[in-house]
């Protein structure tokens, strides 16, 4: 199979994630969309690794996974705290930090 197809898929997934982040209000869903974007990137890295025939992309994919895992820990904790105080996970309602 043409390795470029993986890249197309990666781009479609990334776009889906990005649109999800922009249009959804629920913090959990947004969060999942962010994960989708990250994993779209991972797919692109691995595909490039395959296309170029070296392991750099795969190594970076692991790094991204580690970062994503750490991000989940911090992000979920924040979302939990917000939900506890405001009884809502809508990001639009958490808008106090502004001009």
């Amino acid at each position: 199979m043409n390795p470029a197809n993986y890249l197309y898929l990666s781009a479609i997934l990334f776009s889906l994630g990005a649109v999800g982040v922009l249009v959804r209000r629920n913090a959990i869903v947004m969060f999942m969309c962010v994960e989708l974007m990250l994993n779209a990137c991972n797919l692109a890295f691995v595909s490039f690794s395959r296309i170029n025939g070296n392991l750099d992309g795969q190594v970076i994919a692991f790094f991204v996974m580690v970062v994503a895992a750490a991000e989940v820990v911090v992000g979920l904790a924040i979302i939990m705290t917000i939900f506890r105080t405001r009884r809502s996970a809508s990001v639009d309602e958490a808008n106090l930090l502004k001009y």
Binding site: A18, V21, L22, V23, V91, D92, N95, L97, K98, Y99
Partner: protein, 643 residues
């Protein structure tokens, strides 16, 4: 231009000097003693109130004693070897700019030192009694000592920068003493005026010093004056004119004359010491000291003569119209210093006589000022001569001493002024007939206003206010005045006896015998006749006829003279008003343009920031959109660049 300019070189003064030894090494004490006195009186403050004035007198007297001992020692030296310098310390040492703090005493400084300390001591003693009712007498003596120290530094300096220190010092002391009764608004304003006008002259001196350093690479008398004949005509003329400006400020010469009349707000001993006998003659000293520069710069010399001639007539005219006895005397001082400046402008035929007249004037003008002080003392500080009259009956000593000064300033033989003023008139005629006629007219007007002054004060009928009980002043005041009166009487004859003053000063300032186209005796008798006629006119007008107690309106000239010939009005219209407009414009410019630019840019930036802040709206999703847009832009930019 002087017909003698071809023979200038041999007549010019010598400037070389030997290092001081023996008695001469005490010359620093001349300055140190009064300075110490000032320090004690001003630093210890009220604790010295009880005995402070005696410290002042003692320090001045000590300085005079040292001056006399140095003078006696100097007499024993031969003519060319009477100049001595003393190195105190290196003051400024920057690259090629070396200024040692050196003192110098030679024949010229010597006569000044004797005049300053001698007359100064007499006036100190006079002031002990004159100021005895003033609670601030101690401060007065502190300032007087400060003045004596500064004036001695001025005449003992061996370079123009040290001279400048003394020059500023006397200006400061003059300011403090004019404003001694600073709670009177007129006195405070007069002091400020004197300070500001003097500052204009001081700019001249500082410019002269800078020009000297540029031209000669040195500011010492020896470095400047010895190489003056070799310098270019332009620089010498510029230096000469700058020095003349300095002299105008300090000596109240036209156009910087306006402060002297107001300076009479100070206590009368101050008027006698500073504004008649010593400080105001510093300009004449400066010109005589810088004789080598002026000898080589005929244009500057002509300017000096013109300034002297204008002031001589101006002062005399002002003196005719003033009813305030001190202001009339101040006009006379201006006029007499005009004589000296004019004589100094004549070159080697005049320097000696300028200094000679300076000395005799110091004596007779101090006599008359102190006499005026004595009159004021007896008349409850009244200065209006229209309320005097017939004081000869109650103030005999004052009248007799005042008449000695009066006859001296008129130039009646054998009083002092006869010798000194006649010599100046003679030199002026030797220079040119026009200048000679100006001095002659000045002498005539002098005789008129001085006769008016004594007639209104001592002769005629009494016009005293009801509460006045005129009485003779105490001996402590009248003894110094009597000594000065004796000096006014005999000093001219003594100093000119065997041409002593000429021989004495010639090594420093140079001398040439003035050559007249006609017999000297004609001039002398002519002058005397003119003076007597003028004095008789004054006598008839002011002693025979009754003097109205309220001044009549008078002619246009009288009105102008009462207004100091509109000197203040001119200053106000030409300098003060435009200056005020300029400062107002600058304030406006600062507020609107400078501050406007600064504040405007700040406001602009602040406004823009306020607008930009609105993008931080608190919605996480809009931030995400911004980031996405930004990322997209970056990618587009990268792709474009790659292409």
């Amino acid at each position: 231009m002087s017909p003698f300019s071809g023979a200038l070189a041999p007549a010019a003064g010598e400037i070389s000097a030997a290092a001081a030894t023996g008695t001469f090494t005490q010359m620093w004490l001349l300055i140190a003693l009064p300075l110490l006195g000032a320090a004690i009186l001003l630093l210890l403050g009220r604790r010295t109130n009880a005995w402070g004035h005696w410290v002042g007198v003692l320090m001045s007297l000590g300085s005079f004693a040292i001056a006399v001992s140095i003078f006696l020692k100097m007499m024993q030296e031969s003519g060319g070897n009477r100049a001595f310098t003393q190195h105190l310390f290196q003051w400024i040492s920057v690259g090629s700019f070396q200024v040692p703090f050196d003192l110098r005493i030679d024949q010229l400084s010597m006569v000044f030192v004797l005049l300053i300390t001698g007359v100064g001591t007499l006036i100190h003693i006079y002031s002990v009694s004159y100021m005895s009712h003033d609670r601030e007498r101690r401060r007065f003596f502190g300032y007087l000592n400060l003045f004596v120290a500064a004036m001695l530094l001025l005449v003992l300096a061996d370079n123009y920068l040290v001279l400048y220190v003394g020059w500023e010092g006397v200006g400061l002391a003059s300011y403090l003493l004019i404003g001694f009764w600073f709670y009177k608004e007129t006195a405070a304003v007069a002091a400020k005026k004197a300070f500001v006008v003097n500052r204009v002259g001081d700019v001249g001196l500082s410019v002269a010093v800078m020009l000297m350093f540029v031209t000669f690479g040195s500011v010492t008398f020896e470095g400047v004056l010895a190489s003056a004949p070799k310098a270019s005509q332009t620089s010498l003329t510029l230096i000469g004119l700058a020095l003349l400006l300095a002299a105008c400020g300090k000596s109240a010469q036209f156009p910087l004359q306006s402060w002297l009349l107001d300076a009479m707000e100070g206590p009368t001993p101050v008027s006698a010491l500073i504004h008649a006998a010593t400080m105001v003659t510093a300009g004449v000293y400066l010109i005589a000291r810088s004789n080598a520069i002026f000898n080589a710069a005929p244009t500057a010399q002509t300017a000096v003569i013109i300034i002297g001639a204008i002031t001589l007539i101006m002062g005399a005219i002002i003196g005719c119209a003033k009813d305030d006895i001190k202001k009339a005397l101040a006009g006379s001082t201006m006029s007499q210093i005009g004589y000296m400046v004019l004589a100094a402008g004549l070159g080697p035929i005049g320097y000696v006589f300028a200094i000679f007249h300076l000395l005799t004037h110091g004596f007779f003008k101090a006599t008359m000022f102190l006499g005026a002080g004595s009159v004021m003392h007896g008349m409850n500080d009244q200065v209006n001569m229209r309320r005097f009259g017939a004081l000869r009956t109650v103030m005999v000593v004052t009248t007799v001493t005042f008449f000695a000064g009066y006859l001296a300033i008129l130039g009646i033989p054998p009083f002092a002024g006869f010798y000194s003023k006649d010599k100046i008139i003679e030199s002026a005629f030797a220079h040119s007939t026009l200048v000679g006629l100006v001095t002659l007219v000045g002498a005539a007007i002098t005789a008129f206003y001085m006769t008016r002054l004594v007639a209104m004060t001592f002769l005629g009928k009494a016009r005293w206010p009801d509460d006045a009980h005129p009485h003779e002043s105490p001996a402590m005041m009248m003894i110094p005045v009597s000594i000065l009166a004796v000096l006014s009487t005999v000093s001219g004859f003594l100093l000119l006896h065997n041409n002593w003053i000429v021989n004495w000063l010639e090594p420093v300032v140079g001398f040439e015998e003035p050559v007249l186209g006609f017999n000297v005796n004609i001039l002398q008798y002519g002058t005397l006749a003119i003076v007597l006629i003028s004095a008789a006119l004054g006598y008839v007008l002011y002693a025979r006829r009754p003097v109205p107690q309220v001044a009549p309106v008078g002619s246009l000239l009288t009105q102008a003279a009462r207004a100091d010939l509109y000197g203040d009005a001119v200053n106000e219209a030409v300098f003060m008003r435009p200056g005020q407009y300029l400062t107002r414009f600058l304030v406006w410019f600062d507020n609107k343009v400078v501050d406007g630019a600064v504040n405007g840019s700040a406001a602009l930036l602040g406004g823009l920031s306020g607008r930009a802040r609105r993008t931080q709206n608190g919605f996480a999703r809009s931030y995400a959109l911004t980031m996405l847009g930004g990322a997209a832009l970056v990618i587009v930019a990268l792709v474009l660049v790659r292409l």
